[in-house]
Subunit: 351 residues, 2 copies
DNA sequence: AAATGAATTGTCAACGCTGTCAATCGGCGC
DNA sequence: GCGCCGATTGACAGCGTTGACAATTCATTT
């Protein structure tokens, strides 16, 4: 005997359920796994027994016997405010398929990163991994995963990989739309604050901006385009530089809300009336967007949906079907443009 | 044969390691689990074999055989920006003990919450659970956990439970210290924006404020104390109410940064010079605190440490030692008061 | 009614590890 | 050198489930 004679009722096992339903354990297993080849009447009897006994299959046993883990990994560095939203979406999708999400922080700068990843995937026997940026762009992470034959989904990578799906948002279209909103209001000279160099988002948002300008026959003045890094502090510099231009723009497009907030600060310090003398737009709909005055017009990322979609891709991946479907799935999610108080008609003397 | 004749080298098992080290599987198991009663020389031989074969014990098998899961749950509702920090700390602590964290979103308003919790803990065989607010205050969650005999740690609960440890921060002391900073600068009339009624933080922060006022022989004017709910929007109302008082205060203490940011907005709209005519302080050191101008003086919560400590409590919980140590551990973590540009000397005419 | 074959169900071993308990080893006292 | 005892080590079953494959059932066909 291994167990103490505890009075507590032990958790039901598949064997108990089988007995209750008058079938073999294997049949119960079939029902649990939704396999075909079980007579409807039998299935219902088993289901009833499961219900009655409040049976929960033992994950560890299932994993051990079936050589799988029912676990998907979500690897991240830099916990940001979007992480929790993203993981919530991913967990929701996992639950629909009775899987679980293992959220694992990793240090992108760790020289031993490959080993850390390897340990994780082998210890947990992960069935798939979702890589949040910047991990989605680290060759050693991708290589380790690939070597282990573990399907990986890259979220908003800078560079797409041919052998792995990625989930992106259509930043370019949204940036274009947001810029249109400024142009419609009479703005002609518009400053632009770039994000960190090398990021896909940086490029796409700028391209969308440029698209809109060109579509309206407007030139982009290079002196009004400054490189930031998505951070507030750096944003202050950019904004100062843009706003101290002799020919001051009437609007600024910041590549994210943090930098947009920075522009708001600088404008205040320079006694520029907002939004009358200067319209400002951001990107991401971060909490800060609605916590400053005027509230930033921005673009909302469907972060939770991205989590869902990413998990879904992993779940759809069927090893026996030679891996990923072709062409490689690259879902692009639509963004919502949100117009708030930070934009107004361009000052008439500048129109 | 269950396995296909795959050419890939199979992952090493305990049996392979045993063979390599010239011992039995059981001895390898002893080494892995750090049990005593293994000769040093033998242990080293086993360790060498593990190293050489790059062996990773199979979690599922360990769990199944040992009737444990190596899994700790982190249950949350309302993913906030602090969640990712918290979970990062918890994961770090878990890794030190070779455990894993299952992060599970739950809906506090779900009428079937108890069942959801029950399913989770039984399916995953969780060894312990960390409850983030507001889950830490839901009786049905606590009861379900208790009935299953699963140790739970409550994070910043409104109401402490006798049978479970909680992790708190000393909000009261920090609020007092922050208020002192205002009083030192000559402020006498100070407004206060309360958080959501019923929250422990709401109460503690106010008490700390009141402590400081009384310690300096200052009265708290009830007309300057407004109830908010920790949210920006509601904060706007509170701030308007406080600032439209005929005898305007020279400083405002907001119970969190979101409401502090709201106060900044309102002051701007009312053309009150910041920080010359009005000092504002917040709480939490949220991102927004440094994204507005002037930057908010505030208090930083050691969120990551709280995650570490919470996981540590679960790990320390030894079922065979009759559960929790007595007295019930209630770690209180210190907060950091951060003074920034949002506070200045009180206007002289008001001193 | 017997034969046929597809559909359904069951048997049994194995997944990789740990608990129980028995076997072996090594040192010490006499 | 022998016996004894504690320290090490090993043999073996079993954790709860699933894969492979065998057995059974049942509706058809002839």
């Amino acid at each position: 005997m291994r167990r103490l004679p505890v009075p507590t009722r032990e958790a039901a096992t598949i064997e108990i359920v089988a007995e209750q339903a008058g079938v073999s354990a294997k049949t119960v297993s079939r029902v649990i796994n939704n396999e075909r080849g079980v007579r409807t009447e039998t299935r219902e009897r088993v289901l009833a027994a499961i219900e009655k006994l409040d049976y929960q299959p033992n994950l560890a046993a299932r994993g051990l016997a079936g050589a799988r883990s029912f676990l998907i990994g979500l690897f991240y560095d830099n916990p940001g405010d979007y992480l929790s939203e993203f993981q919530t979406g991913a967990v929701q999708r996992c639950r629909e398929s009775n899987l679980h999400l293992m959220v694992e922080p990793l240090d992108a700068a760790d020289p031993d990163l490959a080993r850390a990843v390897s340990t994780l995937i082998r210890q947990l026997r992960l069935e798939g991994v979702i890589l949040l940026p910047p991990l989605s762009d680290l060759p050693e992470v991708r290589a380790t995963l690939a070597a282990a034959g573990i399907p990986a989904v890259h979220i908003a990578p800078m560079h797409r990989q041919d052998d792995a799906p990625s989930v992106d948002t259509d930043d370019r279209a949204a940036a274009r739309e947001l810029t249109d909103a400024l142009i419609e209001r009479g703005h002609r000279r518009i400053g632009f604050m770039l994000g960190r160099a090398g990021h896909r988002a940086t490029e796409q948002r700028y391209l969308g901006f440029a698209d809109a300008m060109h579509a309206h026959g407007l030139a982009v003045d290079p002196k009004l385009v400054q490189t930031g890094n998505f951070e507030f502090t750096e944003g202050l510099e950019c904004a100062r530089s843009i706003l101290s231009n002799p020919e001051r723009p009437t609007a600024i497009f910041a590549s994210n809300d943090d930098m947009g907030a920075a522009a708001v600060c600088v404008a205040r310090q320079m006694d520029i009336a907002l939004p009358q003398q200067l319209s400002i737009v951001g990107f991401d709909d971060a909490p800060v967007a609605t916590m400053i005055w005027p509230q930033l017009s921005t673009v909302r990322q469907p972060v939770r949906s991205m989590g869902r979609v990413a998990a879904d891709l992993i779940i759809q991946h069927k090893p026996h079907l030679r891996g990923w479907p072709q062409p490689m799935p690259r879902p692009h999610l639509d963004l919502d443009v949100i117009l708030r108080g930070s934009i107004a008609a361009a000052p008439t003397d500048a129109a």
